[in-house]
């Protein structure tokens, strides 16, 4: 259409080429007359023409007029050919795309009433087929015949369920053709699942040709004038049933022997319904089978089948031996589960026992090659896991693999055990270990004590050795010997009674040994020299006498080479008699000096010294 509106050019007065006045005047008069004449002759038409022009040039008026004609025009054009459809198709497709892109819901809502039933139908058909195959397969799985069919399935490569269906089949509608009666063209075709089909278009034509041949035969042979049609075409293991209507025909391919009632109950109603619903489409059919998609539900209603003893699961009984077998399997599984559970509990118990042991650390545990497995660190002095396994658990040691790496644990029990192993204390010594300190208590030989003091610091985990309550047996013995010595004096004198020079010599030796041995046992020996008198005479004089006697022995001993620091001297007068005075010999024994030994720890020795009288004062 042109962009410029239509324009009618009214007859303009013609300008004469010649500018002469007379001529132009004449021409002007002619023009006026012409205009008048035209007004008289075509005035009416001129008005109409202007109206038409206005309608054509006004887009709003044109749109209004076009809207009145549009639907009619579309109908007319669509009836003539497909060009309108072709022209509109791309726009419609784009519109759909754009609508879905913008918001898919309106379109989804529009088609959901169609999609729902279609999806439901598809799902239920698939489910039915599956359930049927499953039912049949289940029922025949355990029978003797079932075994035969299993062999057949294996031999032919078909699924077992498929073989069962085929063998228990009474009948099954495999395919349904909806055929245009006049041309033999295929309008619609459906097939049951897993049915092999040939090109349905060709089969449809051939079935029609066979019908036609049959009619010709009937005419030629029996002079039949009726439009005979074949009801059933027998093809051995299959039959083709024909069910015609005025313009279409159903051809139903059935495997097996179907009851005749299917024809009146299903096939005839189906073709009648199609004929009724699609009469116009059938009449105007020109090769386009698309509208006959609508007939599919009717065709699907013809996909019938029947199998022997079909699918009554309630009546289906599983043989007794299958139940027994099942019971056995369940019992075996139960027993296995119980033993596995018990074994697992015993194992956990064993592991917990090991974990409770000091000096045992489990780093890995589980199952290996069907055996129980445990690995970790073990102090050589810790309890033996093998012994625990044998004596404290019902597990079979042969079923357990153990792997222990040695290490030294710092658990107090083990430090103590290690100390005992290393120091080997005599039974009279009690060792204790607490917070890094190893304590020894009791009596031991001088040699053992000396070794223990040296070795204790080599015990892993020991930071301190406490031997304060350890008694040196050798020193004790020596002390006892010294304490039993008594040096007697002449009556009323500080003169040592005669005949005691050997005793003095022994005493000096003993004291010298005591002083020499003490440091090795971690002791300081303190020898108290106690002066005594008998009970005769003045007690003050006795006191003085006893002081002088002890001082006398001190100087004798220091003269023998023992350091003065080891001594304390004290006069006890008659208050501490060596022996209670009951006779003259007792009195004689009480005129003497006795000794008392203290073996002190070095610190304590110093403090004791402060409290007592120092020698030589």
């Amino acid at each position: 259409m042109s962009d410029s509106p239509l324009r009618i050019v009214p007859n303009q007065p013609v300008e004469p080429d010649d500018p002469e006045n007379a001529d132009s005047m004449e021409a002007a008069i002619d023009q006026d007359e012409m205009a008048e004449l035209r007004q008289l002759l075509v005035g009416q038409e001129q008005v109409q023409l202007n109206n038409i022009l206005e309608r054509l040039n006004n887009p709003r008026i044109r749109a209004r007029e076009m809207s009145r004609l549009l639907s009619e025009a579309v109908k007319l054009r669509a009836a003539r050919d497909d060009s309108l459809t072709e022209a509109l198709a791309p726009t419609v497709v784009t519109a759909f795309h754009s609508s879905v892109k913008k918001d898919p819901r309106p379109l989804a809502e529009a088609i959901s009433p169609l999609m729902g039933p279609a999806i439901r139908r598809a799902i239920s058909t698939a489910l039915n087929a599956m359930i049927q195959a499953f039912d049949q397969a289940l029922k025949h799985s355990f029978s003797r015949q079932g075994l035969k069919w299993r062999v057949e399935s294996w031999r032919t490569g078909k699924a077992f369920a498929e073989v069962v269906l085929l063998r228990t089949l009474v009948y099954r509608v495999e395919q349904v053709f909806l055929i245009h009666k006049q041309s033999g063209l295929l309008l619609q075709h459906i097939a049951a699942s897993s049915v092999e089909t040939q090109d349905a278009d060709i089969v449809s034509g051939m079935l029609t040709a066979i019908q036609e041949a049959n009619r010709n035969f009937a005419r030629d042979s029996f002079g039949s004038t009726q439009n005979e049609h074949i009801g059933t075409l027998d093809l051995g293991d299959r039959e083709v049933w024909f069910e015609p209507s005025a313009q279409a025909a159903l051809a139903v391919v059935i495997r097996g022997k179907a009851p005749e009632s299917l024809r009146s109950d299903f096939f005839a109603p189906a073709i009648e319904a199609i004929q009724y619903e699609q009469r116009e489409t059938l009449e105007s059919f020109d090769g386009d089978a698309t509208p006959f998609e609508l007939s599919r539900p009717h065709l699907e209603s013809c996909l019938l089948s029947k199998y022997e003893g079909k699918t009554d699961l309630a009546k289906f009984k599983i043989p007794l031996y299958i139940w027994l077998l099942l019971a056995l399997i369940i019992a075996a599984i139960g027993a296995w589960a119980f033993f596995a559970w018990r074994e697992s509990r015993r194992w956990d118990d064993y592991l917990n026992k090991l974990r409770a042991q000091p000096g045992i650390v489990i780093t890995e545990e589980g199952e290996r090659g069907g055996k129980l497995f445990v690995a970790g660190l073990r102090d050589p002095l810790a309890a033996d896991p093998e012994t625990i396994l044998k004596e404290q658990t019902p597990l079979d040691p042969a079923d357990v693999i153990s792997r222990w790496e040695p290490y030294q644990a710092l658990a107090p029990q083990l430090v103590l055990a290690r100390a005992k192993t290393l120091l080997g204390p005599p039974p009279s010594v009690d060792l204790k270990f607490e917070q890094g300190k190893l304590s020894a208590e009791g009596a031991a030989s001088h040699q053992w004590i000396a070794d223990a003091q040296r070795l204790a610091r080599f015990v892993h985990g020991v930071t301190e050795f406490d031997d304060a309550r350890l008694i040196d047996e050798d020193l004790k013995e020596l002390s006892n010997q010294i304490e039993q010595q008594v040096i007697r004096f002449i009556l009323g004198s500080v003169q040592v009674a005669p005949g005691q020079s050997q005793t003095m010599k022994d005493l000096t030796d003993q004291i010298q040994r005591l002083v020499a041995l003490s440091p090795a046992a971690g002791r300081v020996a303190r020898i108290e020299i106690i002066g005594h008198t008998d009970t005769e005479g003045d007690e003050n004089a006795n006191q003085r006498l006893s002081d002088e006697r002890s001082a006398r022995i001190l100087s004798a001993l220091t003269a023998g080479g023992v350091s003065k620091d080891n001594f304390l001297i004290r006069g006890a007068a008659s208050k501490e008699p060596v022996r209670p005075e009951t006779s003259a010999s007792d009195k004689e024994l009480n005129r003497s000096v006795s000794f008392k030994i203290s073996l002190l720890a070095p610190g304590k020795a110093a403090s004791r010294l402060q409290q007592s009288k120092e020698p030589g004062r």
Binding site: H180, Q182, S183, G184, L185, L186, Q198, D199, D201, I202, V203, G205, M206, A209, I210, E212, A213, R215, N216, D286, G287, D288, A289
Partner: protein, 165 residues
Amino acid sequence: MIQKKICLLGAFAVGKTSLVARFVKSIYSDQYITTVGVKVDKKTVSVNGQEINLIVWDLAGEDEFQKVRMSYLSGASGYLLVADGTRRDTIETARMLRQRVNEHIGAIPFIFIINKADLTSEWEIDDQVIAECEGQGWTVIKASAKTGEGVEEAFAKLAEKIYRK
């Protein structure tokens, strides 16, 4: 897809069956023609970019003992009329068949195929006869079942005629 039924007609042994044998999808053996009188095949052609399924009914040939059954043409959209270039009488049979089709079915589109174009030296049909046929408005195509010459063209032309109708 649009489907159209077309038929193959001609005198006995003009080579109808072999003419199309290599160009159609076939699931039936040629024996069907002698037993049933018809063999149905399928051929897909494209007209103006649109695919059309031609359902081809190959009918038993006409001779003095057996007439082509016109009832087989029921519902056909067109037909291929086949003659043998080396047998002049087959042209007559073709004319006669066309006449019968017109009487029974009506003037539906057809293509006249003169077969055995590979044996032109033995032809009994001259250009004048062909010109006569064309003069009557027939579309005449020389074809050869042996070389395949003209066969596709014949199917395509027929489909076009049917489509244009």
